[in-house]
């Protein structure tokens, strides 16, 4: 009995080390190589890169290099990269920045029903506070937005289209290339929230005429509180945060040098490993898809069968409440997330699952498992077994009239 007790105790003390982390869409661990790249600017060179003396110029050079790396990873030019305080800031800056700067030309924006709140809420602000109108284009049952529907939503006074590259809950990949061709032909600025896509898909802005694109470092093994906004040269756009001349007057504030260097290092590693990095997570994710539905009756797969992020799986289990699944998994040492916003105070299931036309009950039973580079096949096997046991137990608790 001793060894088990010791394992349990370790698990209690450091659950992230011994447990199974399957919530990489929420955030990812900071890679050791990234922390190592950051350390010289945490513990060593603290100079403000705007100063004149040598350490400051070294910090400035590190920032320049970080910008070059970030640009290279996205197929962009260095001067098109604006460092920000995260994906949400990038989305806010893009949306409010383009829309407000163009409001004399038109006050209509187009987006999809399954965008992240970091896109939907700024658009609501435009509507409620600045006299804009918005068209929220619906998605099909797999979460796909249709290029035709976007095209049909465009008006002469449309000043911005914002569609995410890939969805954070169900992983559906949108046809952003086709939408970009459309918006380019119409001369309408196109913003893409690539917060989930960066790190899971190759992005090459030299090939796709996207005008603005948001990324967030902590989604690809970089630090939290650091992101970037790509703004294609020539885009009419107002900065969100003004003050000092940092980021060439496009995002004021003393630079988080360590954070930016960390994000760039994470992107560099991604580039180096890109030919194999996605295979590992795809294999593990595909195992979940192959095992869970036959093993657990009443399972529904949410999202698109093919056009989806390689690391994303999303299920609903009939008659099982999502939060109960999560708490039971947590007790068993498995960290996952629900598509339901129930946990954050609202009783409503997430707007994403609602937009798919999934019933309330099904949406509430949803479970998102997002795989990462440190996960193993053995962990997947343990996850399937544990999950099957939990679903069975919870279903056994349900009143008879409710049982599946």
């Amino acid at each position: 009995m001793r060894p088990v007790a010791r394992i349990r105790e370790e698990e209690r003390r450091s659950p992230l080390k011994t447990s199974i982390y399957l919530d990489h869409a929420a955030t990812t661990p900071l890679r050791a190589e990234v922390l190592q790249a950051m350390e010289p600017f945490l513990a060593g060179n603290y100079a403000n890169p705007s100063s004149i003396y040598r350490p400051a110029q070294e910090a400035r050079a590190a920032l320049d290099r970080a910008r070059d790396l970030t640009a290279a990873a996205l197929g962009a030019r260095s001067q098109e990269i604006v460092f920000t305080g995260g994906g949400t800031e990038s989305d806010n800056a893009a949306i409010k920045g383009v829309a407000l700067a163009s409001r004399d030309r038109g006050r209509h924006v187009v987006t999809s029903a399954i965008e992240h709140h970091a896109v939907l809420h700024p658009i609501e602000e435009l509507v409620e506070r600045f006299g804009f109108e918005s068209t929220i284009v619906p998605v099909d049952r797999c979460g796909l937005v249709s290029v035709e529907a976007i095209g049909a939503a465009l008006r002469d006074d449309t000043v911005l289209v914002s569609v995410m590259w890939a969805n954070n809950e169900i992983g559906t990949i949108q046809p952003v290339e086709a939408i970009a061709a459309l918006t380019k032909a119409r001369g309408i600025p196109f913003h893409v929230d690539a917060v989930q896509a960066a790190g899971a898909l190759p992005i090459d802005l030299s090939r796709v005429p996207i005008d603005l694109l948001s990324i967030s470092a902590h989604k690809f093994y970089g630090p939290k509180g650091v992101g970037a906004l790509f703004v294609r040269g020539g885009t009419l756009w107002w900065p969100l945060i003004t003050g000092g001349g940092q980021e060439r007057n496009r995002r004021a504030g003393t630079e988080n040098v360590a954070g930016m260097v960390g994000m760039a290092r994470a992107l560099e590693l991604l580039m180096e490993e890109r030919h194999t990095a996605y295979d590992h997570v795809r294999t593990l994710r595909d195992y979940l898809f192959a095992q869970i539905p036959p093993r657990i009756p009443g399972t529904r797969v949410n999202g698109h069968p093919e056009s989806r992020l390689p690391n994303n799986a999303n299920f609903s289990f009939e008659g099982v409440h999502g939060e109960s699944l999560l708490v039971a998994l947590d007790v068993a040492g498995i960290m996952a997330s629900s598509g339901s916003a129930c946990t954050s105070g609202s009783l409503e299931p997430s707007h994403v699952l609602q937009a798919l036309g999934v019933s309330h009950a099904v949406a509430q039973g949803s479970l998102r498992l997002t795989v990462g580079r440190d996960n193993t096949q053995e962990q997947m096997e343990r996850t399937v077994e544990t999950l099957a046991g939990i679903v069975e137990r919870l279903r056994g608790l349900a009143p008879v009239s409710e049982r599946a």
Partner: protein, 124 residues
């Protein structure tokens, strides 16, 4: 964890689950907003709840509240049972987040409806 260890324990090892052979006070309740459902079955004798079993579907607090309520109600008089309130349930769980108050309401309403059902047709 935002839920107390006691709440998680009730969720993980719920007490008094299942059904009774000969209940004389039964009710089922549902929260139409979040879909939580609970069924309470009791055997009442001489104004005392001698046996209680429940089944529930819902979030962890919904299950934990039903479990804690069953422990508090078993052996209690009908008068005491009527006096059970959210505060005592929350205390029995070492705390219940405010946003989950609806879980306690659902169980309490269902208990009250079961007691009403008993009063209106007492089969001792």
């Amino acid at each position: 964890m935002e839920y107390s260890p006691t709440l998680v324990d009730h969720f993980h090892h719920p007490r008094n689950t299942g059904k009774l052979d000969d209940p004389n006070a039964v009710a089922e309740g549902e929260n139409p907003v979040c879909g939580d459902t609970v069924r309470i079955e009791m055997r009442i004798q001489d104004d005392v709840i001698t046996h209680i079993r429940w089944l529930a579907r819902g979030c962890p607090p919904a299950i934990a509240v039903a479990s804690a309520a069953s422990v508090l109600l078993e052996g209690s008089t009908l008068e005491d049972a009527r006096r059970l309130d959210s505060a005592r349930l929350a205390a029995a769980l070492d705390g219940l987040p405010a946003r989950k108050a609806h879980a306690a309401s659902l169980v309490l309403t269902t208990v009250a409806r079961a007691l009403d059902a008993y009063r209106s047709s007492p089969r001792s």
